[in-house]
Structure formats: C-alpha cells, structure tokens
Symmetry: C2
Subunit: 302 residues, 2 copies
C-alpha cells in the first residue's frame, strides 16, 4: 500500500469559487467570511477573480476586496484570471499569486472564455511573463480535466498537453480540476498517475466538486495517488441556491475531518472551519451542503 | 496497488434501515417502493425488521410486508432481528434470511436492545440454531464497529471478539456497520485489514452512513481493502426528516455511479436506481440527500 502523506496543504476557495454563482453579497460580508476562514489557520486562499464583472457579478468587487487583504498577514492570497489583461489587473490590485485557468475541453473553454483550449494554452507564456516580471507566482488550473458538460469525457492527452505547456513555460504550480463534479476515485487515480511523471518538481494540486457525492472519495483517491494540495470551500459553498442540497466545492470541514481521521495533518482547525461554514451560510442566506456544519465532529476519544 | 474487484454485491436496505426512522408509510407505498427497487436489478434486499413495534413503529407491518415478498422472485430478502424471539417471528413470516445485530459497544448495545455486547454475543448460537433448523441463512451485523455515540471509538478487539463468536458458531455472513456515520477511509482500511484474516471464507460486508460526508469514500476504501458486499438505500434514505440535507445510508445510485466509473460492476441499473430514489422521495414526502437524484448521471461517452 502506498504510504499516505503526513500533511496536505489546503487552499480555501470560498471567496472565489464558492461565491461566484451566488447573488452578490456586500464587501463587508465577504470580509467577515474571509476573517472566519483565516481563523481556521488555512495558509492559502483564493480571494477573488479578475474576470468580466458582467459575467461574474458576484466578484465585481475584486479590486476593492484585494485592497483589504493586507489585513490578513500570513495567508497567501491568489486570484483567478482568464486572460493577460486579467493577470495585469490582479497584479495591479496587489495580488501576489494568480491562477490562470485553461479548460482541457474545447466546448467548456469556448463557453467559459470564448477561446479554444489551444488558444488558451498559447497564452501561458504571456501570462507567466506578466506574473514573473512582477514577482508574482502563477498556477495553471486545468479545468474540465475529467469531463466537459459539452464534449463529454476529456481525453487525458489534452490534459497532458496543457501540463507540458505549463512546465516548459515555467509556471510555479499546476492543478487539475473536476469542474463539473463528475470525477470518481479510479478515474482520479488514473489521471494523477499519468500527470505526475510529466510534471517533475512542480507542485500538483487537485480540485473537486461534490456534485455527484463522490467529491471526498475523489479527493482521498488523489491523496493516495500522491497529491498533497487540495482545494475546498467552507460549507461546501458553490452549489446552486435553487437546487436544495446541491453541492459545490468539497466542504473544507468535511475534508479536514476525513483527513484528520486518516492520520493526515492540515493547517486547519476543525471547529474553526465549522464556525466559518456557519458564517458562510449566514452570508449567502440559504442552507449549505456541509455535513459537519449539520452534525459536528464525531465523539472524540482514545 | 491492490487490484479492484470486478464486481460488488449490493444489498438495498431502503425498506428497513431507510424507513425505520421515518413516520410510518402505508404498506401499499412500501410495496411500490419495493417494486421500484426490485426493478433496479439488485439481488438482495433488507425488507424489514422483526423488532418491537412500539420502538420502531415504521416497521410494525413486518409480517404483512413479508407476506407480499413472494411477488418478487429472484431477490433474496432478509429481515433484521435483535433476539431469538425476533428470529422466530421472521422465520414464521416466511423470511429465508435473517440479520442478527450485535453492537460492538456496550453503550449502544444497551440503548438499542437493553443488553451488553457480551450478552448479545452470547445469543449467537441460539439465533444460528433457530435459523439453520429452518434452513434460513443468518448474518451477524456488527453495529458501532467504528464508533459509539455513547462510548466513543470502539476498540477493534471488541469487533474481533464478535467476529470470532460468529465464525465459531457457523453464521453464514458477517457485516461491519458504521452505525452513526463517523467512519473515514483509513479507519475503514484498518478495521477491514484486521477482520479479514479472522473470518476465513465467510463473506464479509460493510455498511456505511453518509452522515459526515465520507460515506462513499469509506465504501470505496472498503472495496480497495477487499470488501465485495455493501449496503445502500435508494435516495440515501435514512436521514432525519427534521434536519435538511441530513444523510442516512449511502445512496444506492451514488454508489453505483462511483463503482461503475471505477470499473466495478454491480447488478444495479443506474437509471432505474435514480427512478427508485424518486419513488422513495415521494413515499416519505421530503427531499432525500441523493446526489444523482438531483443532477443525474454524467455525460456518457467514450
């Protein structure tokens, strides 16, 4: 049996992936949520996205939010971008880390950013240059790494081609994302096993949604396959508010519970994560799918 | 890496574990649900329990339901019992398979059946004799195999002692049950790895609740560790109707989705399972936590 890692780094994506499909909430409420997440001890947070405000009105306050991040020292904040212009805006706003998203499926790529996968991949060098010229780290997030809502299953070679372009152009990190929540453990193991040998020493993360109930199972399979960087959101933010019980990102507190009981450390305090999930639920004004928010930790003991 | 099995046998427990905490529903509605579950292709179903009708009013119609089971040929129906008297009632009602539940934790055992673990274990020989004298198969289900709501974590030796008593007394099957939904993949692997060498050729099953979001992850970990028998309920029936989003058993359709995409066969048709989950939701009159019932299968393709 593969040895499990002693520690997994978790990036909280509540403020970006978690909130992006919600109705816009006031900046003050975002900052309250940010403070609650920061209190968990998490060391990385995806704070916002510098994308079209008309397409993602919930994140239209990206620059205003960015101006407040200096109040939370000790956390590495990142912002998602989808173009060189977005990268410039993020850096101008003071972000020290950007994520450039490339969809591995043409259907999703065209729907999301109006460009093919090849066109989005071709912009990696320009994005890296913009970031590194300012001393900013850059991660390539490979969206629809398993399945696309338009194109169906994503051929793994399309993922590997983006990985190769990311590596050759000197990105600092890569992540593979289950954008529509369809991944399952075996398919996760298979893709991680293909990607890892190609990526050398560049840190590789994984990003899962719990849409079909398998988010935590997939995350654990990723860890068993050697992944030590995972995204999560408090409360499982990111679900559709119009579908009761719908799940977004895997819930931070549910993930931490599973990892802790599997002997894997994180920087996150479980009770603080549950409290932050409660703050998130109040902020969005509808029930969140988190399990731990509902039932709490198990009985602790020997 | 351990090879995954080609096939996992799933027992649907919707009619017993799924319905036992619900308000009683009419026998006709149960039979409609039973027909929908039978249409999935599942080969084993836990149909009811022969326990105190005052403690579990939802299953007070056990004998009436049992009288209808001959209408569903090709399915092995079982009933849960907690005493020799219950076993006799189940057999008199025509069941060909009984499950005798023994809680590995004294706290839960006393709360559940008014006896200690040792006292409940001591009745295994009598239960086996009653069953086998009538040509009925008997499974021992070890409840609170990981954690007890009263006693905390269950020492694995308490589980192994029950396994030993089950084996020496000739039971036909054993299952380990995560009664309160606290198990996580590593703890599942660890216990399965301890139990399997003790149990010889007797089939070993596992039973999970999704209370803390880790139900499917735990089920997959069990399969990776060698388990090829799992319980599930359509829709994830079994949650508390007064806690929105609460989860009961792992949802049959979510489990089948995960196993199918992991290359593991079952006897269950996924679309029929989703349809049965819809029947269950109508029968109980409140939203069920199933993911697939909400979002359906992923895009199918190459």
């Amino acid at each position: 049996m593969t040895a499990l890692p002693k520690h997994v780094d978790i990036r909280d994506v509540s403020l970006r992936d978690g909130l992006q499909i919600e109705d816009p909430i006031p900046l003050a409420a975002k900052l309250e949520l940010l403070a609650a997440v920061a209190a968990t001890g998490v060391k990385e947070m995806e704070a916002t996205a510098f994308v079209s405000p008309s397409k993602v009105p919930a994140l239209a306050d990206a620059a205003e939010l960015a101006a407040e991040l200096h109040n939370f020292p000790g956390i590495e904040f990142s912002a998602l971008v989808a173009s060189p212009n977005g990268a410039k805006r993020a850096i101008a706003a003071g972000l020290g880390s950007i994520e450039y998203v490339v969809s591995a499926a043409d259907g999703h790529s065209r729907s999301n950013v109006g460009r093919s996968t090849a066109e989005a991949t071709a912009q990696i060098p320009e994005i890296v240059a913009i970031a590194h010229d300012s001393g900013v780290t850059v991660e390539v997030i490979i969206a629809t790494a398993w399945d696309c809502p338009f194109d169906g299953p994503t051929p793994p070679q399309r993922v590997l081609d983006i990985v190769a372009a990311a590596c050759v152009n000197g990105v600092d990190r890569v992540a593979i994302a289950d954008t529509i929540g369809t991944a399952t453990p075996r398919r996760v193991s298979d893709l991680v096993t293909l990607v890892r040998p190609q990526i050398g020493d560049i840190p590789l993360g994984a990003h899962f949604h719990n849409t079909r109930g398998a988010g935590l199972a997939s995350a654990y399979a990723a860890v068993v396959a050697g992944i030590t960087r995972l995204d999560a959101s408090v409360g499982g933010l990111g679900g559709c508010p119009f579908a009761p019980g719908a799940s977004g990102n895997i819930a931070l507190e549910d993930l931490v519970y599973l990892l802790r009981d599997s002997g894997i450390g994180t920087d996150v305090d479980l009770q603080a994560a549950i409290a932050a999930a409660g703050v998130a639920q109040t902020a969005v004004g509808h029930p969140l799918p988190s399990s731990l928010l509902r039932v709490g930790d198990r009985i602790l003991g020997t």
